[in-house]
Amino acid sequence: MIPLRAAIVLLIAAALIIAFANAPGTFDDYAFIAWAKFLLRPGPFAGYAQLSRVTDLDYPPIGITIMWATIKLAHHFSWPELQSFKIPLILTSLAAPAIAYTRTRAPEQALILLLIITPFGLILGYTDVTYLPFLLAAFYLAERELFWAAGLSLALCAFIKWQPIIFAPVFLIAAWRQATSPLPFAKLAAPTTLFVIAILLLYHPATVIHVLFTATSDNEFSAQGVNLAWLLSALFEYLHLGGLTFQPSGAITLLTTPSPAAAVNIAMTALRYLFYAVFLAHLALYAIGPKSQAAFLISATACAAAQFTFNTGVHENHFFVTLIAAFAAWQSKALDNFAFAACAAIALLNILVFYGFGDGFNFSNLFKIDSSIFLALAELLTYALILRQQLQTCLAARPLGRISEAQSATSRATSEN
């Protein structure tokens, strides 16, 4: 029997679905529908390669296949395409809170997750929600040290959208720390490896690798992700470097490379290297820190936050992976309320600042200062909050560890004496 409080969450979910099934979403949704329609004739496997040749396809194969299946269903039953496109988003928006609920039996956490993901999935139609149940499952399985299943779940996420791949190194380190030697580690990694090989073979390895390469070689210096690159864009435009300037409304322009301003091209490379350095530092912190659920979850959150903060080619919905890792960390009390609230605010405001609730906000400013600048600064500080919590979690135990080692050595010596 469903507990009363869980039933209330379900009813609210139903109300949200009814309310937003017709929400128009962003222009991305119509591109996805066009791709899915392209696949109708050749089918998802052969069609994926064909689509990658005629478009700048940068989405992984399972995500595209899900879109194909929904449009196929829509055509078969003569359903409207936009509403059909939302079917997987609706299903996963329901499944994710259900999975979150099974972990802590706290209906308010499930409800908060539902409310946070609604603007992404149901209202604006971002497909990130499609991988969400599998990503949560991956975190929860990893917490229970079922790394063979966690790896499979994470690989499935990455083949739906590339972003969750950012967590792969953290999962690998966690699995290695459990296995401690190559053979047990190979056993843990085998199911995931076989799954990845199967997908590559199914969709043609060269095509999948080409699409992954397209996704990672984005030439946008600042997309609509409010991060360090966004702040630098504002600075370059303020300084009129290489003729760059704000839009007539005063809004910040999205910069791409190669740019007439050499500073943009240099900053693009510098930021990439900065991202790699910071990302590796987070992994190193996790590797030297205690083997605990808290360290695992806060490190995963920090890696995703570093990707959003320092990398280039980051878009407005890409904070979603950080938000989900932060949610899992908050559930297990590895992240405090304030840091999670800040993550949720950044994630939601980043999409609202550009799209509103689907109606779009006009360029918003406070006395001619673009609102996205405040948001980008807040994002940098939120990253710093997460970094501080990772440092506390991963390093605070070390001196204590040494003390306890020293104490146990003393007690051993005493007993020997």
Binding site: A15, P24, F357, G358, D359, N365, L366
Partner: protein, 384 residues
């Protein structure tokens, strides 16, 4: 509880600034044009003579609008910017009180919730919010005279906190020691008398009596009367019909028995809540739950209720949550229902979410949920 650090303060400041900036130019609801025209009238005359022309809200609300417009004139802001700036200031004041009393997380949550009302849609309920929060704090610290004074000030800004005043008075009376027991209302009474005298008693009376006889049977509030409105339109009772497309629209005028039935139900529930609170030992928990129940009863059962009137339920729910008198799931439900009232009507104009039979069903379902939540709140108070 999250500690206060410079980091937290900076994150809070930047997130709230981003919210303020994001919504600063938003034109808000039709209420905003009323506020702007009031500001212009008050600037033209003066806040006291100008109030006699308006006399729709209690006097201190328009007085704050005048002060904001006067200050804005000095720094060359547009009228809308004046209003939004004043709203932002009061929101920050309320959030900083929440920061001091509860935690940085509570302050961020409070600012985000009330920004939907104030910064985004231009409602001025946040003008009285700092007084409510400080008043509750004063009661916690056994300062009945100050608490009553603050609640009186809140009531003279907008009339909604008046619903809470009898409960506040009873609690303050119970807290006051012997010589103070008869003296504690004096500062509040003197303040109210001074304000009423300054703004002309007839105008103030007109504003309060106007609120009490609001002609709306059902405004855009998801409550029992909205539920009744849906049924009346479905079964064509009292000549009511759905708007074209099957949309439920508010009912502005009905034969008097309909109002009497609704108001009687409200008064029975409200007085029962008051009596229940009066007869039992006074604790902070019982006070907060009684206040929450009173405001829920007003919103759910009374006539003349509008979409932004759930604001106080949200605030009292917030206080109850952070004082550990309310579960997280109950507060989340309160927040969802309160925000759905304003967001469904105004945040998604092109989606037109309340239109058609689906929109009608959605609003009726939310109204039923509000009735259930009100019953649960009354039960929580009774069981406390």
């Amino acid at each position: 509880m999250t500690k206060t650090t410079p980091f937290n303060l900076a994150v809070f400041a930047l997130i709230t600034l981003a919210i303020t900036a994001l919504t600063f130019s938003n034109p808000g609801t039709s209420d905003v044009s009323d506020f702007l025209s009031w500001s212009a009238t008050l600037l033209q005359k003066n806040p006291f003579a100008g109030y006699a022309v308006i006399a729709d809200y209690p006097p201190l609300g328009p007085f704050i609008l005048w002060a904001a417009a006067e200050a804005g004139r000095l720094v060359h802001l547009t009228p809308l910017e004046n209003l939004k700036f004043a709203i932002a200031l009061f929101q920050y004041a309320a959030a900083l009180i929440a920061w001091r009393v509860f935690s940085p997380g509570a302050a961020t949550l409070l600012f985000s919730l009330i920004a939907a009302y104030g910064s985004l849609l231009g409602y001025i309920d946040c003008f009285y919010l700092p007084f409510i929060l400080l008043g509750l704090r004063a009661l916690e610290h056994n300062r009945p005279a100050l608490a009553l004074l603050l609640f009186t000030a809140a009531t003279l800004i907008k009339w909604q906190p008046a619903i809470l005043c009898p409960l506040i008075f009873i609690q303050a009376f119970a807290l006051a020691k012997f010589p103070q027991k008869f003296l504690f209302p004096l500062p509040a009474a003197a303040f109210a008398a001074a304000v009423i005298a300054a703004f002309a008693p007839a105008s103030v009376w007109w504003a309060f009596s106007g609120a009490a006889v609001d002609p709306f049977f059902s405004g855009q509030a998801f409550n029992l009367d909205w539920l009744a409105t849906g049924l009346m339109k479905l079964f064509h009772i009292a000549g009511q019909h759905f708007a074209p497309g099957g949309t439920i629209t508010p009912i502005i005028a009905l034969p008097p028995p309909w109002y009497a039935a609704s108001r009687t139900l409200f008064w029975i529930a409200y007085l029962a809540n008051l009596v229940l609170f009066t007869l039992r030992a006074k604790t902070q928990k019982r006070l907060i739950l009684a206040l929450l129940a009173a405001e829920s009863i007003q919103f759910t059962l009374n006539t003349g209720v509008h979409e932004n009137h759930a604001f106080l339920i949200l605030i009292l729910g917030f206080v109850a949550l952070f004082q550990n008198h309310l579960s997280k799931i109950r507060f989340t439900l309160i927040a969802v229902l309160a925000l759905s009232n304003i967001l469904l009507f105004y945040a998604f104009p092109s989606a037109n979410l309340t239109a058609g039979p689906i929109g009608a069903a959605l609003t009726v379902a939310l109204s039923a949920a509000q009735c259930a939540l009100c019953a649960a709140t009354i039960h929580s108070h009774a069981a406390a």
